[in-house]
């Protein structure tokens, strides 16, 4: 019996989205960007990690764009943005600090990534409708 898309799957996808975004760059000096800029050597490892990250970003961006569309991405950005606004207004988030500001933007992006790769699953679970991609249109052969 196949498993339904549950809360755990959604959380894992959100965590994965955040990890990919924050792993590529974050303002606290623990990211791929800092690894490249601040240390020398191990070029092959850097290239491998970089290509992996680029691939993951492409997969996530394409999935988000296909699944959510421009309207969905805009709405989700507005949702996460207003969530951040609530936190700022409650003084739980000090957005005056440039690091926290950049981190907030990255968290919003990671949230959109996570939601983008979850939405097709959620829609299928909720309504039974299936998202599909017509790959014949984009094939070069």
């Amino acid at each position: 019996m196949p498993r339904e898309f549950g809360f755990l799957d959604l959380s894992m996808r959100l965590v994965a989205g955040l990890l990919i975004v924050l792993g590529s760059y974050n303002p606290y000096a623990m990211s791929y960007y800092h690894w490249i800029v601040e240390t020398d050597g191990s070029a092959s490892l850097k290239a491998l990690a970089g290509l992996t990250l680029v691939t993951l970003h492409v997969v996530f961006v394409l999935a988000s764009v296909r699944s959510l569309g421009p309207v969905g991405i805009g709405l989700l950005t507005a949702l996460f943005g207003s969530m951040a606004w609530v936190l700022v207004d409650q003084r739980w988030l000090d957005i005056e600090s440039p690091r926290v500001f950049v981190l907030t933007l990255l968290l919003i992006l990671g949230g959109v990534y996570g939601a983008g790769i979850s939405w097709s699953h959620l829609r299928n679970r909720l309504s039974g409708q299936v998202d599909s991609t017509d790959i014949t249109l984009t094939s070069p052969l």
Partner: protein, 143 residues
């Protein structure tokens, strides 16, 4: 993950009820005549507060997603049939003297209730269709 070529047993009533609860939450939270709804919150709030904006975007996303799923599932014919059902149910209730159409509050409640039911059926319809006839509703990208 459900495979497209297989059909799995569903629980039609429990399924419909859960989706109706979701639709009813979104619709009645957005507007209901009792005076405790997002509509009244916006009307009475002097200025835009962050929580107001957040709730608004959340309700907008939920309503858009539900309406799009329901509309795609039912199509023009289904929506017309469902709207006709709403009008007929209102007419039936009024004809049986269950309530007066002039009673705006009851009429609004009935209208909203039937609208939520139509949305719930619309959201569930693809699953029913998949179970009944094996036809899946597919969204194609790029369009």
């Amino acid at each position: 993950m459900p495979r497209l070529g297989k059909t799995y047993p569903i629980k039609p009533l429990a399924m419909l009820f859960k989706r109706w609860l979701l639709c009813a939450t979104v619709v009645f939270a957005s507007y209901n005549p009792s005076g405790n709804s997002y509509f009244h919150w916006v009307r009475d709030a002097g200025e835009v507060s962050p929580l107001l904006a957040f709730t608004g975007v959340l309700l907008l996303i939920a309503a858009l997603a539900i309406m799009r799923m329901a509309f795609l599932s039912l199509g023009y014919f289904g929506v017309t049939a469902a709207l006709t059902c709403i009008v007929m149910m209102l007419a039936l209730g009024a004809g049986l003297d269950l309530f007066e159409l002039a009673d705006v509050e009851i009429t609004t409640y009935m209208l909203l209730f039937w609208a939520t039911l139509v949305l719930a059926v619309g959201v569930s319809w693809s699953l029913y269709q998949g179970r009944i006839s094996g036809e899946r509703d597919i969204l194609r990208t790029p369009p």
